[in-house]
């Protein structure tokens, strides 16, 4: 059983709930009603006769002697010392042997309680302990005593109650069994209660039988104790701290689970063994010497111990060693982790220390207006020694700040100390030699030695400031450059804008989605849309689908191939006429090379196209003309043959006799011949026209009178009688420099046309006049006239309104007149007639090269 004091000791280290019981064998009391009881049991016996006393006490001592206990019987009335011995002798066969060996002492109360004449309870108590120690020293397990209180006077009662209380308190600590005997007849009720209260239980005889009576208080306490015991046992076993009780002989009396866990063993292997058996060599350790001291001197010891296990493992334990009745109690706490953390913390602190000490920044701890700590950089930078800087007389503000900054510095420090946040700020410090330098101040509220302090980190920003100045200077010059560049860009932009708007081609920019970004005025005109209408839209949203589709295809090709490409596009303008565009499209890139869109330049090449087609047509006509000339040449020979034949026919006709000739005339042969001749002449003219058109013209100018030329022309033509010809030429009309052959062909054609325009007859007028060095010659008819539509095509090759015309006549005339550096024009009214006018510059032979 764990006793009060042990429990008390336990509570010093652990909570009171953790009190437990120490395993120990009960002692035989020899009293049937009581049974077994442990050392420390203190109870009372109420008797009436001296037989009652013998009845209980003799077996009590008999058991004690037999259990190797020292016994002491203090007798009083009604049982004398001798009667007691006599009774013992009767019960214990070898009683005198016990007496001789000194295992039992039977003494009268006068020699024990009243030794020295009066009752002194301190003396009596220490007497018991002395007796016990002597007994233990002699090798007895413990001590068993009894005392009769019959001698007690009423006046001593209170004093005795105190004594009993004290005994009750003290007995628990020792290896003792105590019975106090009280005479029932002498005690009043209140006294009986006092007695019972001060003993663990009472033994009393009722109806001839001994019974055990416990006080209700006692009972309750026992019950609580019992309950606590169980849970505490449990808790003890489960607690992290190791609990062990080691006996005086160094045997393990109790160990909890934590102990065996720490010791890496089991309860079975530990209990009953000595420490030396468990841990050989332990007696040489410092811990063991501490344990010895506790065991002998009964003092508490606390220590931290590094323990080495039999398996070589090590662990740190906080040991709390207390003396207990059983020996010593040891509470151990595994602090291995804590030790590791302490070590880690120590290292970390060292590292931090090193860091701070070697930091290029100035680090200090400022408290109570002085530096408590400064690092090396602080000293070196500022030019003060660490002792000076941390001196209580060192005025930080005055010594370290330029005068103008005193107030600011004070204000910031005060703010910080009030607990306000002060963001990092830039200021200037001065060195011992008064040279200023810029710093960035970082400050933090900390606790230093339990008191508020400011941790200050000063970063020297001289270099940074210099860089900033440089950057500022650079950025200022950059601004100038940018301004200049902006101006250049603006000018370039204006130039481009001017070019953009004045370029005769359509120019437009599109984004990557082919939406128009900007277009110039030409583009607006071509598309028939304003900038506002088209910007942000694609072609297909605003234009005829065919044109939009071709544009889309070319746009996509440019964007895909990322190349400058050339296209020919067609569109229908607002008049419904087809327009042709030559378009160059180029992709636009950003600086990373991504395609941002495209720029297009479209040129209207419709006129160019038309010229091209005209050229093509004229080439075709030239070919036609050449073919015609060939045909004409080839026709010449058969034509020559026919002409010859007709001549022969005429010749033969003249040579035949008159009678036969009349027959032929009668049958119309003569007429047929003349009709043949007529058509052959016409064929001849066609062939001549064809050849005239084809051959190159190089007029050979000769001086000639116009009248003569016209007369000659008219004589070669057959003018019907219903056409009246009049020639009106001014009298002083000069002679002309002409190629007579060519001009004769011109007049011949014009006159022939005029005659043909007047199938029903009319008037043919040929006029000539001089005007501003130019000869005006006109051929005028009163014929059918020419429609406006035909008028413009009149001089076009192969154009004809005649059933039998090839459209060579007028073009040939035109060529021939132009070969004379002149021109030919026509005026006509349908139904009124036409006038062809030739203008030829007047010149002398000399002036003509």
């Amino acid at each position: 059983m764990l006793k009060g004091e042990t429990a008390q000791i336990l509570t010093q280290g652990v909570s009171p709930e953790k009190i437990g019981k120490v395993e120990e064998k009960n002692r035989k009391t020899g009293i049937d009603a009581v049974g077994d009881a442990p050392f420390g049991t203190h109870f009372c016996l109420f008797y009436e006769t001296k037989e009652d006393l013998i009845d209980v006490l003799v077996p009590y001592f008999k058991a004690g002697l037999e259990s190797n206990e020292f016994c002491m019987w203090v007798t009083s009335e009604p049982l004398s010392e001798e009667e007691a011995k006599e009774a013992m002798r009767r019960a214990v066969p070898n009683f005198d042997g016990y007496v001789e060996r000194g295992q039992i002492e039977i003494v009268p109360y006068t020699e024990w309680y009243l030794k020295g004449g009066a009752f002194n309870f301190q003396r009596v108590l220490s007497g018991w302990v002395e007796k016990l120690n002597q007994a233990l020293a002699k090798g007895y397990d413990g001590m068993r005593v009894t005392g009769n209180m019959a001698w007690l006077e009423k006046r001593d009662w209170r004093n005795f109650v105190d004594y009993e209380q004290e005994v009750n308190r003290v007995v628990g600590k020792y290896r003792m069994l105590v019975i106090c005997t009280y005479s029932l007849g002498k005690c009043v009720a209140s006294e009986i209660l006092d007695v019972v209260r001060n003993h663990q239980f009472a033994v009393i005889k009722r109806e001839g039988k001994w019974e055990l009576i416990e006080s209700s208080e006692l009972k309750r306490a026992k019950e609580q104790f019992q309950a606590a015991e169980e849970s505490l046992q449990n808790t003890l076993d489960n607690m992290l701290e190791g609990c062990q009780i080691i006996g005086y002989d160094w045997r393990y009396l109790y160990v909890n689970d934590a102990v065996v866990k720490h010791g890496r063993t089991t309860k079975e292997r530990v209990l009953g063994k000595t420490m030396m058996e468990m841990y050989p060599g332990i007696e040489k350790t410092e811990m063991f010497s501490k344990l010895q001291r506790c065991m002998k001197e009964r003092v508490s010891i606390r220590m931290e111990n590094e323990f080495e296990f039999p398996d070589g493992g090590k662990g740190w334990f906080d040991l709390s060693i207390q003396p207990v009745p059983e020996g010593i109690f040891m509470l151990s706490f595994d602090i291995t982790e804590r030790k590791k953390m302490e070590s880690a913390l120590r290292e970390s602190e060292e590292r931090y220390q090193t860091l701070v000490e070697n930091s290029p920044n100035l680090v200090g701890i400022y408290q109570d207006s002085v530096f408590k700590f400064v690092n090396r950089a602080m000293c070196e930078e500022l030019g003060w020694t660490p002792e000076e800087l941390t001196s209580p007389t060192f005025d930080v503000i005055e010594k370290l700040f330029p005068q103008r900054l005193y107030d600011l510095a004070k204000e910031n420090i005060a703010k910080r100390l009030r607990g306000e946040y002060v963001p990092p700020y830039e200021t200037s410090l001065k060195r011992r030699d008064d040279v200023e330098f810029p710093v960035l101040v970082l400050n933090k509220m900390i606790r230093y030695k339990g008191q508020p302090a400011i941790e200050v980190i000063l970063v020297d920003i001289t270099e940074r400031k210099r860089m900033e100045d440089e950057i500022r200077r650079y950025s200022e010059s950059l601004e100038e450059i940018v301004e200049g560049r902006t101006r250049e860009l603006k000018e370039a932009h204006e130039r481009l804008q001017a070019l953009f708007q004045t370029i005769p081609d359509a120019v437009y920019f599109k984004d990557a989605q082919r939406r128009f970004l900007v277009i110039n005025t030409v583009a607006e005109k071509i598309m028939g849309l304003t900038q506002e209408e088209i910007v942000g839209k694609t072609m297909e949203q605003q234009m005829p689908s065919d044109f939009a589709r071709t544009c889309r295809i070319s746009d996509e090709e440019v964007l895909r191939k990322r190349k400058i490409l050339r296209f020919e596009e067609q569109n229908i303008d607002e008049k419904g006429e087809k327009r042709f565009f030559e378009t160059i499209k180029a992709p636009m890139h950003d600086s990373q090379g991504n395609v941002m869109g495209l720029v297009g330049v479209s040129r209207d090449i419709t006129e160019h196209k038309q010229m091209e087609q005209q050229l093509l047509k004229s080439e075709r006509l030239t070919a036609v003309g050449e073919a015609a000339a060939m045909v004409g040449h080839d026709l010449r020979n058969p034509l020559q043959v026919i002409v010859n034949m007709l001549y022969l026919v005429g010749k033969k006709f003249k040579s035949i006799p008159i009678a036969d000739r009349e027959i032929l005339e009668k049958y119309g042969f003569l007429d047929l011949r003349s009709r043949f001749i007529e058509q052959v002449e016409y064929m001849d003219k066609i062939v001549s026209d064809l050849q005239d058109y084809a051959r190159p013209l190089k007029p050979k100018l000769v001086e000639i009178g116009l009248h003569k030329l016209i007369d000659k022309t008219l004589s070669s033509l057959t003018v019907p009688e219903n056409v009246k010809v009049s020639i009106v030429i001014e009298e002083d009309f000069p002679k002309l420099m002409l190629d007579p052959g060519l001009m004769q062909r011109v007049f011949s054609n014009l006159i022939t046309n005029a005659v043909q325009a007047m199938p029903n007859g009319g008037k043919l007028t040929i006029r000539a006049s001089e005007k501003e060095e130019t000869a005006l010659i006109s051929v005028e008819d009163t014929g059918v006239g020419i429609s406006d539509a035909n008028l413009s095509k009149l001089f076009t090759l192969l154009f004809t309104t005649k059933a039998r015309g090839q459209g060579f006549g007028l073009p040939v005339c035109k060529r021939m007149v132009e070969a004379h550096d002149g021109n030919i024009t026509v005026a006509s009214k349908v139904g009124k007639g036409s006038t062809f006018t030739i203008k030829i510059p007047l010149r002398t032979e000399v002036s003509y090269k």
């Binding site: 040449h633 010449r636 020559q640 043959v641 022969l648 010749k651 050849q691 052959g741």
Partner: protein, 159 residues
């Protein structure tokens, strides 16, 4: 018309023209021979004397102008009339420079052609007469000259 028939050589590769022209000239009382190419024309003109040749400017084996030049060298007295399908002054001038006596363009009107032939033949006859007269003159002059020189020579010797 002269009692003696005048002879004309027609050089023309178109047989139909050749035939019709031959008919026309024969019907006018000329002695007509024909050649279809330059080579034949040269051959015939060497075998026989012709008063006149009508030359087409285009022939299958040679240029009419070439033939003209050849004939003019060999037979300067023969009248040569060029007939061309390409009427141009250059052609005419060139033809004349190379020895042609006349120049006529196709299509040729038979009346015009006959008039031209007659005219040229008359010129030829007159030229011949002139030549005869000239020769007589020359001989007379020459004789007189020789006579004078010999007389003069005699006078010199006498001196």
């Amino acid at each position: 018309m002269n009692e003696e028939k005048k002879s004309i050589l027609i050089v023309e590769d178109d047989k139909a023209i050749l035939k019709s022209l031959k008919d026309i000239l024969q019907s006018e009382g000329y002695s007509v021979d024909t050649a279809e190419n330059g080579r034949e024309a040269i051959q015939k003109s060497k075998e026989k004397f012709f008063n006149m040749a009508l030359l087409d400017i285009k022939l299958p084996d040679m240029e009419g102008t070439k033939l003209l030049v050849t004939m003019h060298e060999d037979l300067p007295k023969m009248m040569k009339i060029m007939i061309t399908g390409y009427p141009s002054l250059e052609n005419a001038v060139e033809a004349v420079n190379r020895g042609a006596d006349a120049y006529i363009m196709k299509p040729v009107k038979p009346e015009k052609l006959l008039a031209l032939i007659e005219e040229k033949l008359r010129e030829q006859s007159q030229a011949e007469k002139m030549t005869e007269e000239k020769v007589v003159d020359w001989i007379k002059t020459r004789a007189r000259k020789i006579e004078n020189e010999s007389r003069k020579g005699n006078q010199d010797q006498e001196r």
